[in-house]
Amino acid sequence: MVRQSFSRIIQLILVLLMLSLATFLLMKLAPGDPVLTILKANEGAVSQSDQDQVQEQLGLNLPLVQQYGLWLQGVIQLDLGKSFVNNRAVWDLMMDRLPATVSLTSGAIVVLLLISVPLAILGAKYKGKWPDHLSRLFALIGASIPSFWLGLLLIYAFAFKLNWLPTMGSGNVRHLILPSITLGFVMAPEYIRLLRSGLLDALSQEYVRAARARGIAEWRVIARHALRAALLPVITIFGMSLGALLAGSVVTETLFAWPGLGSMVMEAITQRNYPVIQGYVLLTGVFIVTANVLVDLSYSLLDPRIRSGRGRNV
């Protein structure tokens, strides 16, 4: 167990190192100049000597390897640097935004569960009948609709036409409803199809037939026996989705002016704010790797046949 954990940590560090190197190089290759951002060149003239001075102060004139080394040295000391735009520590900026992203992630998961579980069960239970067709149709619509368009439609209907909900912003649960539906809705199709096929597979197993033969009610058979077995592949996908959700949804957050990590990084990218982008990539890397570790751990809880070193190579 200790050995596995140790190997996991080593893997995690290697993944993050590679990720940070790739981001660092990509940002350097991308067009645009952070010095002009810092000097706010879009608001007025900037002289070449000012540009040179800032470049020197920030070490942007140093060789790339040295720049990367300096940044990495800071990361090891838990210093992700400061935003080029407003001088704030990158860590503080991200921690300001994280709670909003976490609440949106939770809202999206609730919507996702409310949509996908009932529709998948209906699809499996009434395979080939109209509830199944309905579930398929929903999955098709959900998979085809872009999130920004769905968000706009929801705002048009519920904020403008009915005036039930706020168009944008944050503050209370009412603000969270539309962005959560937008995110949950576009994620749901994948889960509906996966859960439905898992359920169909489970329902044809002998233990389900045995349960039915014992006279257990059909809904109970589905909920307690089939659903449980069908959850394993869903959990794998869920791990990936969770990591991505915690990284913040750029489109949904920007549309609803939701103050999460997604809208923060969108601004940082347009401003070539390297320290913020690098810090963000590192944080999301941690989220995704951690979410996957948690998923691996959850396998053994859901299916006791899976144990590290035996059924599965964790």
Binding site: A45, N87, V102, I155, M168, H175, R228, W258
Partner: protein
């Protein structure tokens, strides 16, 4: 037995996930609106009629640091020494008057009887401390102000610049030169201060959610008369459609940068109105001085005549723009008074023929057997109309017999600086953000300037710019700026296309307020609602 244990485990597992979701959901909600200053309840005046307003702007803000963003001035929290009046002329604000001793030394008289929102009196020492703080915290401000030394004496502040700088007062209208209470920052700490800065304005910050919104409450001790509103909510949203829907649903009273295509539905509602304000931005084409085709003045002039500015204003901007005849808006005191170039296909053809071009059997212009094909660099930027303008010009040019190939890039400045294989490029800049043209002229027409990636040089312009840079008198500066524009227009290194308007949605309940071209003074003490 084992089934029972497993069932229990899975219940615990799902229960844990549900609790986790609920806790994070609720904690996220409560933390999303992070109160940074004192609570709203503590500060809200106990008045029987509470007047409030909601404003939405397009640019999100991560911080309220007054020296690194415009938002605190826009939100009426901070003020500057000087300001722009309705005619874009520099006028007194926190400084009652100012004079220059020589071309490097300025003396400002700070208005008496003003207090910051924390009760600290405003004197020359406080202004000096504010500038020092700004220079230390913003490299852009340090570069713009070029301050060598400051001397505070009572209400008199003497500033010496590092070089002769007659345009210095124009810098002091910029929002990032806001005067703040450094005493308040020392007491609160930088982090807290940048979430609830203390200035001299009519409104105080009660809470700030980075990237989303600011809540403001009236400053009852404001020096220029108590504000008429009690509370203001200032929100940000980068999506024009959502901003427009928020305005139409009456969830916001003033909304900046509406999308022109949605104006028809707004006009149908008699509770809403739209104000179309001429902006300080100019869209233009830059010609490549190294191009074998457009280095010929006659070809540039022909292309200039093929730009249908009226069609661009009417069809792309739906009337919400004005045709440009120079880098600065014609309505400004230093704007070009001559008319703009109308579409003139016949004139363009004559010019091309005089330049040695002849029409081939395919109707296309050619010279020495080489067709006149031009590469035009286009980009999207923040203005949705920018990529459409090249298409209108491409169509007019095709009718005249010139082929224009449009290439879209993300950053035209970077492309231009790194490539020579282009003929024209779209450019778009705020050409007079501080009510003066000097800054733009020095950066767009001097080699090495930040707006001059093509290294354009205009013959005869250098002495005019030298004179401009040595002149402090506003009237004289305006005249010299106009002279410079005349020389530039003759050389035609650029073709100025339009000055786009800013579209601001205003609910009819809003009174005593109108948007300005500079977009500086949004929340004011006179702003009111019915």
């Amino acid at each position: 037995m084992s089934l029972g244990i497993r069932s229990q485990r899975s219940k615990i597992f799902f229960g844990f996930i549900l609790i986790l979701c609920a806790v994070t959901f609720l904690s996220g909600c409560s933390q999303a609106s992070r109160s940074s200053g004192s609570s709203s309840e503590e500060n809200t005046p106990a008045t029987s009629v509470s007047k409030d307003i909601t404003i939405i702007h397009s640019l999100p803000n991560d911080t309220l640091d007054p020296h690194n963003t415009w938002i605190t001035l826009r939100a009426g929290v901070t003020e500057t020494l000087l300001r722009l009046d309705e005619n874009m002329k520099i006028s007194p604000w926190l400084a009652s008057d100012w004079e220059t001793k020589d071309d490097r030394t300025w003396v400002f008289s700070i208005r008496e009887g003003i207090q910051f929102q924390d009760g600290t009196p405003l004197d020359a020492q406080a202004v000096k401390a504010s500038f020092e703080r700004g220079i230390a915290d913003s490299k852009a401000l340090a570069a713009a102000l070029k301050i060598a030394s400051m001397e505070a004496n009572g209400q008199q502040l003497q500033i010496t610049t590092t070089e002769p700088y007659p345009a210095f007062p124009t810098e002091l209208v910029h929002p990032t030169t806001s005067i703040i209470s450094v005493a308040a920052e020392n007491q609160m700490g930088k982090e807290a201060f940048n979430n609830a800065p203390v200035g001299t304005g009519p409104f105080k910050v009660t809470s700030f959610t980075p990237g989303s919104e600011i809540h403001l409450v009236r400053n009852d001790d404001y020096w220029d008369g108590k504000a008429k509103l009690n509370e203001v909510t200032f929100k940000f949203n980068a999506d024009a459609n959502v901003r427009t829907l928020a305005f139409q649903s009456k969830q916001a009273d003033i909304v900046f940068h509406l999308s022109p295509e949605m104006l028809t539905s707004i006009e149908a509602d008699n509770e809403l109105s739209v104000s179309s304000v001429t902006s300080l931005r100019t869209h233009y084409f830059t010609y490549n001085p190294a191009s074998s085709s457009v280095s010929d003045h006659r070809v540039r002039e022909a292309l200039d005549k093929l730009i249908d500015r009226d069609s661009i204003v009417q069809d792309i901007m739906l009337g919400h723009a004005s045709p440009a005849n120079g880098p600065f808006n014609a309505s400004l005191p230093f704007g070009n008074r001559e008319g703009y170039q109308k579409l003139d296909e016949a004139g363009a053809l004559r010019l091309l023929e005089s330049a040695g071009y002849t029409k081939g059997s395919d109707g296309k212009f050619q010279k020495d057997g080489k067709p006149l094909t031009l590469k035009l660099i286009a980009f999207t930027g923040v203005n949705p109309e920018l990529p459409l303008i090249p298409q209108v010009v491409q169509s007019e040019a095709a009718k005249a017999g010139i082929t224009i190939e449009i290439v879209s890039v993300e950053y035209p400045e970077v492309y231009i600086a790194d490539h020579t294989d282009w003929d024209m490029s779209t450019s778009s800049y705020l050409t007079s953000p501080r009510g003066d043209g000097g800054s733009f002229l020095n950066s767009a027409y001097v080699p090495g300037g930040s707006y001059n990636p093509a290294n354009i040089q205009v013959d005869g312009l250098e002495p005019i710019l030298k004179e401009l840079n040595e002149t402090g008198d506003t009237e004289k500066r305006n005249e010299i700026t106009q002279q410079a524009v005349t020389v530039i227009n003759k050389a035609l290194p650029h073709s100025y296309i339009i000055n786009p308007n800013i579209l601001v949605g205003i609910n009819q309940r809003v009174t005593d307020w109108k948007p300005g071209a500079e977009e500086f003074y949004i929340v004011t003490h006179t702003l009111d609602v019915k």
